[in-house]
């Protein structure tokens, strides 16, 4: 009879509570892996803070901060194999770095450089600005991978707000029909610019959106890197065998939407504070300290190292020769049209009577 709204039970996967205590038994993750993930999270946090500063100093353009989402991004990307692909949106620096995308090029991107999306061999698609469009590219990529026997999964990243776009649903539906090796990784960070999750959709969870398309869904505590990593491992396994999965990672955007945004216009400090208490770094750090495999000295060393890597990447980017308008004519088509040739020539004769 009536399928009442939100009657489907959805249980969020969690291993670590807000204080880093195990709630649900320990998953099989080695100490090395734990430490590696934490280091990536530190790197991500430092990168984010520095990028914000660079932006304020006018050294890079608009930037979309990721602080608060390190567990979701690092945990998910750390579970990937080299041959897997990421189809990101614009807030996934951390996931990209874990999967081999050069930090230098991310800076180039924020500087408005033509080479800012060059993954230099890592399986990372260009940052997508059009919300939802990347999901369809991931569908095609997964399909090509399957057709060519690559044993690779295509993972697309999208936000809670992005799940309202038609493209998102068309992609889920295709994935279901063709049983594609795909994971839809939704970072539900509670906000789409100024619109809270509750006004974005009436569905109780994002995970349950999988039901519309006959694929597997799962919700995970996105600030718990253990939960994200473990769940993502399993999701990838399913996907690799032709069962697409929608993962909803429940997390929080601690900063502004972008450097052009003022979040005090639309959200309360109390809301932010509540989520700061659930900070993903704090949580895994407590767990590592408890486990006795981390200490303050390592911590300081790691932060210093991360700073240094950011500085290096930034310097490399800042010293890369700037893009020139002449260059753009070369990458519209494989071979320039005569119109483009003429226009390119007009550039070089600029200011001079033709």
């Amino acid at each position: 009879m009536w399928i009442e709204p939100n009657e489907l039970p959805v249980n969020k996967v969690q291993y670590l509570d807000e204080n880093g205590k195990l709630t649900n038994g320990a998953p099989e993750v080695s100490d090395d892996e734990l430490i590696a993930m934490y280091k990536w999270m530190v790197q991500a946090r430092v990168f984010d803070q520095r990028a914000l500063k660079f932006q304020r100093q006018g050294r890079i353009g608009t930037y979309a901060p990721l602080s608060g989402q390190e567990a979701a991004q690092v945990g998910s990307a750390f579970a990937l194999e080299r041959q897997d692909w990421i189809y990101p949106s614009y807030r996934e620096g951390a996931a990209l770095f874990v999967h081999g995308f050069p930090m230098k090029n991310f800076f180039l991107y924020t500087m408005g450089h033509l080479k800012g999306t060059d993954a230099e061999g890592a399986n990372v698609f260009p940052v997508q600005i059009i919300i939802g469009a990347q999901c369809l590219h991931a569908v095609g990529g997964a399909w090509a991978g399957k057709y060519q026997g690559e044993n690779s999964v295509s993972v697309t990243y999208i936000g809670d707000g992005g799940t309202s776009e038609g493209d998102f649903h068309e992609a889920l539906n295709f994935a279901g029909v063709y049983k594609l090796p795909m994971v839809f990784f939704v970072q539900n960070n509670q906000w789409a610019i100024s619109v809270p999750r509750s006004k974005q959709t009436a569905s109780g969870t994002i995970a349950q959106k999988a039901v519309a398309h006959g694929i597997t869904g799962i919700q995970v505590d996105g600030n718990d890197v253990l939960a994200v990593y473990t769940t993502m491992k399993q999701a990838l396994e399913r996907a690799r065998s032709g069962q697409p999965v929608l993962v909803e990672a429940v997390t929080y955007r601690q900063g502004p939407h972008t450097t052009a945004d003022d979040p005090t216009k639309y959200r309360n400090k109390s809301d932010v504070d509540e989520w700061l208490a659930k900070d993903p770094l704090k949580r895994i750090k407590a767990f590592l300290l408890d486990k006795g495999i981390w200490n303050e000295e390592l911590e300081q060393r790691e932060f210093a190292l991360a700073e240094q890597k950011v500085t290096e990447a930034f310097e490399l980017a800042a010293n890369t020769p700037k893009s020139k308008v002449e260059d753009i004519f070369e990458i519209v088509y494989e071979k320039k049209t005569s119109q483009l040739t003429e226009q390119q020539q007009s550039v070089s004769s600029e200011g001079v009577l033709k």
Partner: protein, 326 residues
């Protein structure tokens, strides 16, 4: 009269029209509590409530399609597309639905609605935010396309757009939102849609432009006129569809030379139509080929090169030299 920036004039107009007519409803992404990413709708939700200033989910096709449905049932929706580059998502609802409802219903229904969107380059937005795509809509019968170049015009044109009984695409030049203030009457006034404005008269050349290149062209022309004994007529199209043929033709018949400046890419753009129109109606008055100074035929490029890609002062000057060389 109050001195207003364009964004203030738009905000003020929306407020006035919402006060005047209960049927006017604003909808779009982040337009409510946040007041729009450019603050065009700032404060409106506080005044008119969540029922009339509506934050929508992220779904452009739904925003425009919902507006079509509202308009057909007696409301006068003003939908915002956050950046004009995202209009592609709503293309069917724009060009097949809003544009054709009057036609498809045999004249029985209509879609009196406005779709507002910030457009244009030079403000270093991330990619896909800055495209000037008015040419696509010029080629979509049933729509009107309005592109103001000043706070005063923005108010008069937006008022006319909201009261128009046909769907109007209202494109707001991002770069001019806060570029300058102008005296804007608080009282009701309309600027007729479909009529161009002769910004200044001249004898030797007609320059046709609209939206955010109007102040730029004016500056370049001023310089030329100071430095050379030459007189240039500037036409601000104001409405890109339907194009005001009469004003253009009359001017070119007088000056014998025409140049078109727009931020849209050159090939297949609105400049092509204007050139073709002049060819059709005033060919024998031309003493030089019509020059188009536009963006290049590439995707909108990354911020670091956009200034060289757009029709900047140098390229406009170069165009004037060219058209005068004959």
């Amino acid at each position: 009269m109050t001195a207003m920036t364009m964004i203030e004039a738009i905000n003020f107009t929306l407020k006035k029209e919402m006060e005047r007519d209960q049927r006017v409803i604003c909808l779009g992404e982040d337009i409510g509590k946040n007041g729009g990413v450019f603050r065009a709708t700032d404060g409106l939700q506080a005044i008119f409530g969540e029922d009339r200033v509506v934050d929508t989910p992220i779904a452009e096709s739904a925003i425009v399609g919902t507006a079509v449905g509202m308009a057909a049932r007696g409301l006068r929706p003003v939908a915002e597309i956050q950046f004009f580059g995202f209009i592609y998502e709503a293309m069917d609802q724009m060009a097949s639905q809003a544009a054709r409802l009057r036609f498809r219903s045999g004249g029985v229904l209509g879609a009196p609605m406005v779709v507002r969107a910030p457009y244009g380059g030079g403000v270093k937005t991330p990619e896909l935010h800055s495209d000037s795509l008015e040419g696509l809509f010029l080629h979509s019968p049933g729509l009107k396309v309005v592109m103001p170049s000043s706070p005063y015009d923005a108010k008069g044109l937006l008022t006319a757009a909201i009261r128009d009984n046909d769907p109007v695409l209202f494109l707001e030049p991002m770069k001019l939102y806060r570029a300058f203030k102008q005296e804007v009457p608080e009282e009701d006034y309309l600027i007729e849609i479909g009529k161009a404005k002769v910004v200044k008269e001249g004898e030797d050349l007609t320059v046709i432009t609209w939206g955010q290149t109007v102040p730029l062209v004016s500056k370049v022309v001023e310089q030329w006129e100071q430095e050379q004994s030459i007189s240039i007529e500037i036409i601000d199209l104001r409405t890109v569809s339907p194009i005001d043929e009469d004003t253009i033709i009359a001017s070119v018949q007088k000056t014998g030379r025409a140049m078109i400046v727009h931020e849209a890419v050159k090939t297949g753009g609105p400049g092509a139509e204007i050139s073709a129109m002049i060819n059709e109606k005033a060919l024998f008055h031309l003493s030089a080929p019509i020059v188009r100074v536009t963006s290049f035929d590439t995707p909108y490029p990354v911020p670091s090169v956009e200034e060289d890609w757009l029709p900047n002062a140098d390229r406009i000057s170069q165009g004037i030299r060219e058209v005068l060389a004959h």
